[in-house]
């Protein structure tokens, strides 16, 4: 696939997403405020229940900061509005349009998803820049230009990994038509084992060792912890390699399911 085309698709989607100003601000202020409130109460409840001054190496302030970054980066990884895109295309027949074009459907769809992230990118930049000053930077957090750059690279891989992990599940729509509950179930697993609901530092050692070889930590936990300066360069690089390998596995699985499912496609709605 040509990069110029992917860029054009992304840019078109970005323009579409940013043509609705009210939605942008409601989503920015309302959505983030609701998420943040939930996680703030969760963090304080954890400390109150345990009575400890640090949990998993985080002070209460560090934990709140973790959640702020997890919310913002989570939105970048999940691309919420597009995560049902493929199954919806199969369900309502919109896939037919893409099948006519001389392009790879998964690649174009991914480019659309990246374009759809434009509002979230603006939100992340705005809120991510002010959050450390509002919450305060505790001693266990070390945000540096290098940690920001490394975190952005992890975030890019995490976004691709999230898309590819959901792709085979969405392709089940070729048979089942409605796969909403499957996608929600996978999203919950990814949020829990990826460190979006709870920092993985709170998990027992054995669980963290198992998760290290699975794709989930590289979705949320690794980008956030990298930004906070809690990951060494070696750990970060190894993480990138593992995440990339999982991208390959998920892509191969997606291709396999696509080949079988494509035979079932009926192109409804024409």
């Amino acid at each position: 696939m040509r990069l110029a085309l992917l860029w054009n698709v992304s840019s078109t989607e970005a323009r579409k997403r940013m043509s609705y100003r009210t939605d942008f601000w409601i989503n920015s202020l309302g959505g983030i405020a609701v998420n943040f409130s939930v996680y703030w109460f969760l963090a304080h409840a954890l400390f109150a229940a345990s009575g400890a001054s640090t949990l998993g190496g985080y002070t209460p302030r560090g934990m709140v900061l973790y959640y702020v970054f997890a919310i913002l980066m989570g939105r970048m990884v999940q691309s919420t509005e597009m995560e049902m895109g493929t199954s919806q295309d199969i369900y309502d027949g919109s896939l037919s349009r893409y099948l006519l074009y001389p392009v790879s459907y998964p690649a174009v769809k991914y480019a659309e998803q990246v374009g759809a992230l434009a509002p979230q990118m603006i939100q992340m930049t705005l809120f991510g820049a002010v959050a450390p000053f509002l919450v305060g930077i505790p001693q266990e957090v070390h945000i540096t230009p290098a940690s920001v750059a490394m975190s952005l690279a992890s975030l890019a891989v995490a976004n691709l990994l999230h898309y590819l992990l959901l792709l085979p599940i969405q392709e089940v729509a070729f048979w089942a038509e409605n796969v909403w509950s499957l996608v929600v179930a996978e999203r919950f697993v990814m949020s829990l084992l990826g460190g979006l609901l709870l920092p993985l530092d709170l998990f027992p050692d054995w669980a963290r060792q198992v998760l290290y070889w699975l794709p989930f930590p590289y979705l949320y936990s690794v980008p956030v912890r990298t930004l906070m300066g809690r990951v060494t360069v070696t750990e970060w690089a190894t993480g990138l390699v593992i995440a990339t390998l999982w991208c390959g596995v998920a892509a191969a699985l997606g291709r396999l399911v696509w080949r079988r499912g494509d035979l079932q496609y009926t192109g409804v709605g024409l």
């Binding site: 054009n8 043509s19 006519l100 709605g269 024409l270």
Partner: protein, 360 residues
């Protein structure tokens, strides 16, 4: 159509068709659909036990379409028209059979094949709803890798021909249905496809827009010579655009030939309409009309008769002799009526193979 368009059309018509651009051989498509009993109880039951039906949408269909030819696929809803188009566009796979479009198997979706075809769907928008048409076309330029100069000249030609130059910057969702359809046509033709599928391109449009789209299709066909397959429920579309039609019934071809052949072989009657001078009484009295043919309409100033083709001249002469005829017209029976009769009268093929089976 302009005089020049007619000339181009005639010139193109004289050229000999080389090899068929579309070849279809015993194409069959069977869908498996689950049957749900109505009501709440049926919904609950379907959660545990489902009945599936195999519906043969297309049955061993074979035909070919040559360069510059517009073939009309005609049939009632569910006759299999759109399913055939979907298979030939490579959107769905057939259950069995073979098809070759420009030398490619459509459902293998080779990019070289996809760069040479277009599908225009009257019932389904393909453009991006929130974007102006100009932005959509730029994206399509990238998708089809159209060189800048060719893109500009093609867009200019299409926008001019369809008279939508001033609407290119307007968001698609703000356009009227007719304008939107014109934009869909531009989007589909920007890459100069050699095979064009038109699935009900004039559906829902007003008469002026319908005429504009038909005129444009004729002009485009004359100038570019693509092979075209048209499905439509509007007989005017078929009459104006197609020389050849394929009539489908329950997924089977029941007629494949020229429009003239349909009329000569299946229209057994003609309609004679006579406008009468009110002040004069008929020589033979109005009772004698029944002997001339089937009276479709009879008022003091108008008579409409359905007459066997072989007796048209004789009946017309009789009318002129015995009735105070001010004006007389002889017309073919409406093509839609003839096609409808062909669909009804043909021997029903095997009943639908509905097979019940259980699936987990």
């Amino acid at each position: 159509m302009l005089q020049s368009d007619r000339r181009i059309a005639r010139t193109c018509e004289r050229r000999r068709t080389v090899a068929p651009m579309i070849e279809v051989d015993k194409l069959t498509k069977t869908f498996t659909v689950h049957k749900k009993e109505p009501g709440l109880a049926g919904s609950v039951r379907s959660l545990f036990r489902r009945e599936y039906v195999h519906k043969r949408a297309v049955r061993e269909v074979s035909f070919s379409v040559g360069e510059g030819e517009i073939v009309g696929l005609v049939g009632a809803n569910g006759a299999g028209k759109t399913t055939i188009v979907k298979m030939l566009a490579g959107i769905i796979h057939p259950t069995s059979g073979r098809a070759s479009v420009l030398g490619f198997t459509p459902w293998e979706r080779d990019n070289r094949f996809r760069r040479q075809i277009a599908l225009i769907m009257g019932q389904k928008a393909q453009l991006w709803w929130d974007l102006p048409a100009a932005d959509c076309f730029l994206l399509l330029k990238e998708i089809y890798q159209i060189p800048e100069e060719r893109y500009r000249s093609t867009l200019e030609y299409l926008a001019e021909a369809l008279e939508v130059r001033d609407e290119l910057q307007v968001q698609i969702r703000r356009l009227s249905l007719g304008e939107r359809m014109k934009m869909e046509l531009i989007a589909a033709l920007l890459h100069s496809p050699r095979v064009v599928y038109l699935d009900e391109p004039t559906i829902g449009l007003d008469l002026t827009a319908q005429r504009a789209i038909r005129d444009f299709i004729l002009r485009y066909r004359a100038e570019h010579r693509p092979a075209m397959i048209l499905t439509s429920h509007y007989m005017e579309d078929i009459e104006r655009l197609c020389r050849r039609i394929i009539i489908l019934r329950e997924g089977e071809i029941v007629f494949d030939g020229s429009l003239e052949k349909v009329m000569s072989e299946y229209a057994e009657h003609k309609i004679i309409t006579a406008h009468l001078r009110k002040e004069e009484a008929p020589v033979g009295g109005s009772d004698g009309l029944g002997a001339l043919g089937v009276v479709e309409e009879s008022t003091p100033d108008l008579v409409r008769l359905r007459v066997p083709r072989g007796r048209v001249a004789e009946t017309a002469a009789e009318l002129l002799r015995g009735w105070p005829v001010a004006d007389l017209a002889i017309e073919d029976v409406d093509i839609g009526t003839v096609i409808e009769r062909i669909q009804r009268s043909r021997q029903r093929s095997q009943p639908e193979t509905a097979k019940r089976e259980e699936k987990p």
